[in-house]
C-alpha cells in the first residue's frame, strides 16, 4: 500500500517554524496520513508549518483537501480574514505538482517559496 514518509525539522525565524518534508504521492489513499501527521505536530505545539513538497511527484484533489484541513487546524477554525494562510506555506513543489497548484489557483491561497530560508523568514 502506498505510504508517505515524513521528515520534520524545526527552524527559528520571526516565529518558530516546523518544516514538514513529505515524500510520496499525496492521493486518496495517503492524504489522511498527512493530515494525521499535521494534527500530531499541532497537538505538540506547532503553530506554523512550512510544507516541503520537493519529494511529492503527484498530488490529487485529496491532497489539496488535506492541505486545506491543515490550514483550518492551524487557524483553530477561525477565518483569518486574509486571502492567504499566515500559518501554512509551501516549499519547492515539483513541476507536476506546481502545475496542478496553478490550475486550481491554490497559489492564490498559499505562498509558495523556492528557498527554505526565505520561506522560514516570511512567517510573521
Amino acid at each position: 500500500m502506498a505510504t508517505l514518509n515524513f521528515m520534520v525539522g524545526q527552524e527559528q525565524g520571526n516565529v518558530s517554524v516546523t518544516v514538514l518534508k513529505v515524500e510520496g504521492d499525496i492521493d486518496a489513499a495517503t492524504h489522511k496520513t498527512l493530515q494525521d501527521k499535521a494534527a500530531e505536530l499541532i497537538d505538540a505545539g506547532t503553530t506554523h508549518i512550512l510544507l516541503d513538497l520537493s519529494g511529492v511527484n503527484y498530488m490529487g484533489s485529496a491532497g489539496f483537501r488535506a492541505i486545506h484541513a491543515m490550514t483550518n487546524m492551524l487557524s483553530g477554525g477561525e477565518s483569518s480574514g486574509l486571502s492567504k494562510s499566515p500559518y501554512l506555506k509551501l516549499l519547492n513543489p515539483t513541476d507536476p505538482v506546481a502545475r496542478v497548484i496553478k490550475t486550481l489557483g491554490f497559489d492564490v491561497y498559499l505562498d509558495i517559496y523556492q528557498d527554505r530560508n526565505e520561506a522560514v523568514n516570511s512567517f510573521q
Binding site: 485529496a62 489539496f64 483537501r65 490550514t71 483569518s80 486571502s83 494562510s85 489557483g105 491561497y109
Partner: protein, 415 residues
C-alpha cells in the same frame, strides 16, 4: 503446562461444541484432542493470510477474531467457532485472512492429523460433510441477506441519480444567433460535475456555468447540488439592482457575477469548512446581442475561444477553486465573441482521460482535434468525445465528462 483450559477434557469440549464437528464419535474427538496443539495468540496477530497455503485449521477456545480481506471484514467469529478448515479439506490456498481481535486461545489441528482421526470411523466423513453443508447453508443465507441489502442500496443510489439529474438543465434556452450544445457523462451513478445555462431575470444576459467538485461519488454529488443551486439562486434572485440595464451593463453584470461567486464561496467555505470540499467553476455572463462575455474562472480548466481567424484564446483562471477560503478574492474579466467564434468549456474528465498506459488526453489533443469552423456545436462536442473514447481505448472512464459549447452564428448578409 496443562491448565484447565488446555486439558484434554477441555479440548474435547471445545471440539464437541463446534457445529462443524457435530456428529463425530467420542473416539474420533478423543483422537483429535490428543494431537491438537494449544496456541496462545495476542490481539492483532494474523493467524492465516489470504492467498497463502496452509495445512492447519483452528478452533477458538476463548477470544475472538475477524475474517477479512485487507480492510474489508467478512465476518466476526468467537469461541466455539472454527476457521481455516476450508484449505485443510480442499488443499487450496486460504480464501480469507483471520486476525485476532482479543488475546485468545486456539486449538490447532493439522490436515494429516484430521484425516488420520477421521479414517478410524466410517461414519466420520459423513458427519464432517454434514457439518460443511450446514456451514454452506449458513453462508448462502448470509449472501441472500447481503444481496437484499445491496439491492436496497442500489435502489437508493438510483433515486439519488434521478434526483441529481434534476440539478442539470432540463433544456437549454434558445437564443437567437447562438447555437448551444452540452454533454454530460457521469463516471459513476452520481457525479461531481455540473453545468448550467439560464437567462438572468434582470437582463437579457445568459448565464453559462461549468463546474467540477473534487472527489467522486455521493459526497461529490451532494456538494454538486449545493454549488449549482447557490450559484443559480444568487445570480437569479440574490442581486436585483435596478441599475442593471442593458444600455450600460458591464459594471453591473460584473457585480451580479462577483456577488454570486463570492456569496457561494463564502457560504460553503464557512458553513462546510470541516468538509474541505471544493469545486473548480467557470461562470460567465454572456450578452447575446454583443457577444461580450463577463466571467470568473475559479480554478477551472481554461475554456477555449476558437476565433474565426483560426486563433485560440484561453480564458485562464481569475481566482482559486471555490468552497475553501471564505475571504478568497476573484477577478472579473471580460472578452468578446465575434460572429463565427465558438467557446468550448469542459471538465478534467476530458483532458485528463487516461489510456491503458496511464497517459492523459491533454489540452493539446483537444486543440488538435477541434475544428470549429466547419461544424456546429453538437458536432464539435461529438468530435472531441470520439477522440477521447478512441484515445482511452479499453481503459475505464475514471472521471465525469462534461462539455459545453456555444457558437455565435454568422449572420446572413443582408441583400
Amino acid at each position: 503446562m496443562e491448565t484447565p483450559l488446555t486439558s484434554t477434557e477441555n479440548k474435547i469440549e471445545t471440539l464437541k461444541h463446534c457445529a462443524f464437528l457435530r456428529g463425530l464419535q467420542g473416539s474420533v474427538l478423543n483422537s483429535l484432542a490428543a494431537r491438537a496443539e494449544t496456541l496462545r495468540v495476542a490481539s492483532g496477530e494474523t493467524i492465516i493470510t489470504r492467498g497463502e497455503t496452509g495445512s492447519a485449521m483452528y478452533f477458538i477456545i476463548s477470544g475472538s477474531a475477524r475474517v477479512h480481506d485487507g480492510e474489508v471484514i467478512w465476518a466476526k467469529i468467537k469461541a466455539g467457532e472454527v476457521f481455516g478448515e476450508m484449505a485443510v479439506l480442499d488443499s487450496q490456498v486460504r480464501s480469507a485472512s483471520v486476525t485476532m481481535e482479543s488475546d485468545s486461545l486456539l486449538l490447532s489441528i493439522e490436515r494429516e492429523v484430521f484425516f488420520d482421526a477421521l479414517s478410524t470411523d466410517p461414519d466420520a466423513f459423513k458427519a464432517v460433510l454434514h457439518g460443511v453443508l450446514q456451514r454452506e447453508r449458513e453462508i448462502v443465507s448470509e449472501i441472500k441477506t447481503r444481496s437484499a441489502k445491496l439491492l436496497s442500496y442500489q435502489k437508493e443510489l438510483e433515486i439519488g441519480r434521478r434526483i441529481q439529474a434534476d440539478f442539470l438543465p432540463g433544456s437549454i434556452p434558445e437564443i437567437e444567433n447562438w447555437e448551444i450544445a452540452a454533454w454530460f457523462e457521469a463516471a459513476r451513478e452520481v457525479a461531481g460535475d455540473f453545468y448550467d445555462v439560464f437567462r438572468l431575470k434582470t437582463s437579457s444576459h445568459l448565464a453559462i456555468v461549468i463546474g467540477d467538485v473534487c472527489d467522486k461519488g455521493v459526497g461529490a454529488a451532494l456538494f454538486m447540488t449545493l454549488f449549482r443551486s447557490l450559484l443559480r439562486a444568487s445570480s437569479l434572485y440574490g442581486y436585483t439592482d435596478s441599475a442593471m440595464d442593458k444600455s450600460d451593463s458591464t459594471a453591473t453584470t460584473s457585480e451580479v457575477l462577483l456577488n454570486s461567486i463570492v456569496t457561494t464561496n463564502r457560504y460553503i467555505a464557512t458553513t462546510h469548512a470541516g468538509s474541505s470540499m471544493f469545486a473548480s467553476v467557470f461562470f460567465g455572463l454572456l450578452d447575446p446581442d454583443t457577444g461580450r462575455l463577463t466571467y470568473v474562472n475559479a480554478g477551472h480548466e481554461a475554456p477555449m475561444i476558437f476565433r474565426q481567424n483560426g486563433e485560440v484564446e484561453l480564458l485562464d483562471i481569475t481566482g482559486g477553486v471555490m468552497g475553501l477560503f471564505p475571504a478568497a478574492n476573484y477577478q472579473v474579466e471580460t472578452t468578446k465573441l465575434n460572429e463565427g467564434d465558438l467557446i468550448f468549456s469542459y471538465t478534467d474528465g476530458v483532458n485528463e482521460a487516461k489510456n491503458m498506459d496511464g497517459q492523459q488526453f491533454t489540452e493539446e489533443r483537444i486543440l488538435k482535434v477541434a475544428s470549429p469552423e466547419s461544424n456546429n456545436t453538437e458536432n464539435f462536442i461529438r468530435i472531441v468525445l470520439e477522440a477521447v473514447y478512441e484515445f482511452r481505448g479499453e481503459a475505464e472512464q475514471s472521471d465525469d465528462i462534461t462539455m459545453l459549447a456555444l457558437k455565435y452564428l454568422p449572420r446572413a448578409p443582408v441583400d
